[in-house]
Amino acid sequence: MSTSTTTTPAGSAIAPRRRRADDVAGLGTARAGIFVAPALILIGLFLLFPAIWTIWLGMTDYRLTGLQAASPEFVGLDNYVEALTDPSFWNSLWLTLVFVVASGIVGQTLIGFALAWSVRNIHGWVKALIEGLVLAAWVIPASVASFLWLVLMDRRSGTLNGLLGTDGYAWLIEHPMEAIILFNIWVGTAFSMQLFSSALSAVPPSQIESAKMVGASGWQQLRDVIIPNIKGHILTNTLLITLWTFNTFTPYLVTAGGPNGKTEILSVYIYETAIPGGQLGLGAAISLIMLLINLVIALAYIRVSRGRKKA
């Protein structure tokens, strides 16, 4: 070991660039293939194949039980026609949009930014406490987090009713959508907070100083110095949050899509249709729509991050 450390730096400095020996271990392409294959096969079988299989499954009348379970038939685009003419599908899509915009794009991003902005100049325990609380909400397992919210909003003896003096008020029945939106903000804000924290710390202090010198107010500094500097982070954050919020299944643990489908966002709708409902074919058709929406968001994300690297 000692010889290698003494010889190599000198060696690499003197020797002209050889036909670059990337393959320092003498792996060879064939053996490299063997190294890569198990991982790629696993990903291919359990990630890529399901996505492709959805296309076929969505064009069959596959069911969990009964005749169609044994010998499903090809039904073409019937499932899509059925989904697109079903008001409950459109209802679910609308609820998803409201959920993503309100809890993800507006709630998590704004509160996350506001928190990062507020604690940026504070040090010590206040900052640690606030960040710690927000982070704890994010790392706690989803099934625990949802139970904590059921406790909070319980009709008879929940903390919320106790604090507001609204004993017996059933929040989850009267305001189910607002409840899962707030729940999701509570769970997810930590990501935006941390992303914006690191973005804000990268803003050149000299720019803020000169803005202060010319007498810019806090709001003007934010608008003219901070936001232009972290524009890339805002876009990244928005797209990732959109993708994750769109795909979350956790609200199911709080309201189970109810009451009467009032919180049946797309992920819950797919689950209800396909697994308890047994209509795997129809569920797959809706899944494909979801996969395509994911694809659009992910491609937008790639474009944004590529543009940022070039700039």
């Binding site: 990903i43 994010w138 790392v139 625990v144 003896s157």
Partner: protein, 287 residues
Amino acid sequence: MTATTATVRKVAANTSVRHYLARVAFGLVLTIVGLLFALPLVWLVLAPFDATPSLSLQWPDWTLDNFARLFQNPYAMRSIGNSLLLGIGTMIIVVVLGALAAYAMSRIRIPGRDGILYGLLLLSSIVTGTAAMVPTFQIITSLGLINTYTGVLLVLAGGILPTVIFILKDFMDSIPKSYEESARLYGAGPFRILRDVVVPIARPGLAFIAIWTIVQVWGNFLVPFILLRSPDLQPAAVLMYTFYTESGQADLRLISAFALLFSAPVLIIYFVVNRRYGFRFHGGIKS
């Protein structure tokens, strides 16, 4: 002259009052937001230590009996064991396969390598647990792997591997190649080099991936919820849900202690690891 100084003073006084009020308002809002985030968590911290926990917040009648009872509850303890089994099992698959793949990709110009890497990452962010639950469920059912750990492990590992390969490849790229070159000069074969040279150097990266994977699997609800049927096999994430939905009268002494026990490892890992590694830890994909 005097008039202008008076106005200047007045303006100064005004701005300092406004400044002061703004500080107070700011402090107040921050406190309220902090309290709102704390509110659901307080129950998790207090109720497990209360002899008679209820759904409302109350100062506990301190006791550790709830934990003593929890440790004797066969379902609860088995589910924690199941979660460990799934977490460690996935971790082993992902670390071994991920390290092999990442190493080969880092050292060999496989045609279209960068395309494959970005393609994999794109794939794993599009094909999420929710979007792929129907085909996954159907495939696992037809393979006869429903209600088995094999099915759950394969699905979890397949979903996590792209991110793992991506992070590990970055890590392997940063390892100087000189060590491998000299090991090779001494006649070591590729497997030997990987085992005795690369793995020891890459240990921090591998450890990071191992912990990250366990945290991901520990909290994962959807995959085991869909693929496992028998109560004996359920991990803690699913049992927690079963506890509060299926038991007629919820046993709050059991549930509260269980919730805390189940959350503690990730809270500890997170707050310890976060101190050390900073933000990167949760920058990954969480679904």
